[in-house]
């Protein structure tokens, strides 16, 4: 679980990991680009299925990826003048308080509870797309 063993294994496994990480990135980027939402619903399950991540590790690593994906998207949209900074910050302020609560709650939940909550999210997100 530590960053050190992670870094050591990344060197030896990099050649095998990067193509799969690339597939995850492509799928997540495509969904986020097409629908404006949904990158995380792709990243988290694929990290679990393909790399054996636990739920906490997958959700945490997904958030790190989303920082970069979101930043690239925000810059691109800002170039077209579509980003309303005031409204973005307005919704981010309660969002940042929420994410502190969400990460703290997650550490107290079991692996299965987090997975169960994620299944509900996937079902809800699929329902929004269909209806």
């Amino acid at each position: 679980m530590s960053g050190r063993s992670d870094a050591a294994s990344q060197g030896t496994l990099a050649r095998r990991r990067i193509p799969r990480l690339g597939v995850i990135a492509t799928a997540a980027g495509a969904f986020a680009g097409l629908f404006g939402v949904g990158g995380g619903t792709i990243i988290v399950p694929l990290l679990v299925f393909w790399f054996g991540y636990d739920q906490r590790g997958a959700t945490a690593t997904s958030l790190a990826a989303i920082v970069v994906i979101g930043a690239l998207g925000a810059v691109a949209q800002a170039l077209y003048g579509n980003v309303d900074v005031w409204h973005g910050v307005l919704v981010a302020l309660p969002g940042m308080a929420g994410v502190l609560a969400g990460t703290a709650i997650q550490q107290r939940l079991s692996e299965r509870a987090v997975a169960g909550a994620f299944i509900v999210l996937l079902l809800g997100s699929a329902a929004v797309l269909v209806f």
């Binding site: 679980m1 960053g3 990344q10 990991r17 990480l21 690339g22 990135a25 492509t26 980027g29 495509a30 969904f31 680009g33 629908f35 404006g36 939402v37 995380g40 792709i42 988290v44 399950p45 679990v48 299925f49 393909w50 790399f51 054996g52 906490r56 945490a60 690593t61 997904s62 790190a64 989303i66 994906i69 979101g70 925000a74 949209q77 579509n82 980003v83 309303d84 409204h87 919704v91 981010a92 302020l93 309660p94 969002g95 929420g98 994410v99 502190l100 609560a101 990460t103 703290a104 709650i105 997650q106 692996e111 987090v114 997975a115 299944i119 999210l121 996937l122 079902l123 699929a126 329902a127």
Partner: protein, 145 residues
């Protein structure tokens, strides 16, 4: 914005952040409708503005998760930096398929993921075997309680 709009925006923003921290998603699923409903933004404007919120919220979430020892930064950065490939793929898909087809395809993928995750929740030992067989991370068994 009316007082009720402020309350709605704060509530959905907070809920989006909780979802993000708990489930590792950006929170756009709630930020976008919040901006459409309570800040009178267009769908495109809301999606663009929500990206700024997503960056700020995910940054705080990543920092907290890092301090809990859960972030594998290398993998996260590789996924993030390769994501523009997906934007290209998305443009190709959007031109090849109707919006309805895309929506239904994405929903089908999510339902498939939900079913696979559900199987792991119900049969945790079977899921572990499957993970190893499919060439999963060899350290995976150590990571499980």
């Amino acid at each position: 914005m009316q007082p009720l709009d402020w309350i709605g925006l704060l509530a959905l923003g907070f809920a989006g952040g909780v979802t993000g921290g708990l489930l590792g998603v950006g929170g756009a699923i709630l930020f976008v409708p919040a901006l459409v409903m309570f800040a009178d933004q267009s769908q495109l404007g809301a999606e663009a503005s929500s990206l700024l919120a997503i960056v700020l919220v995910s940054l705080v979430g990543t920092w907290r998760q890092w301090s809990y020892g859960n972030v594998r930064l290398g993998d996260g950065l590789v996924i993030g930096l390769l994501s523009p490939l997906g934007v290209v793929a998305g443009v190709v898909l959007a031109n090849a398929l109707s919006e309805r087809t895309l929506e239904l395809s994405f929903a089908a993928v999510q339902l498939y993921f939900a079913a696979r995750l559900a199987r792991r929740v119900v049969f945790p030992s079977g899921a572990r075997t499957a993970s190893v067989q499919s060439g999963g991370d060899p350290r995976a068994p150590d990571r499980r309680p």
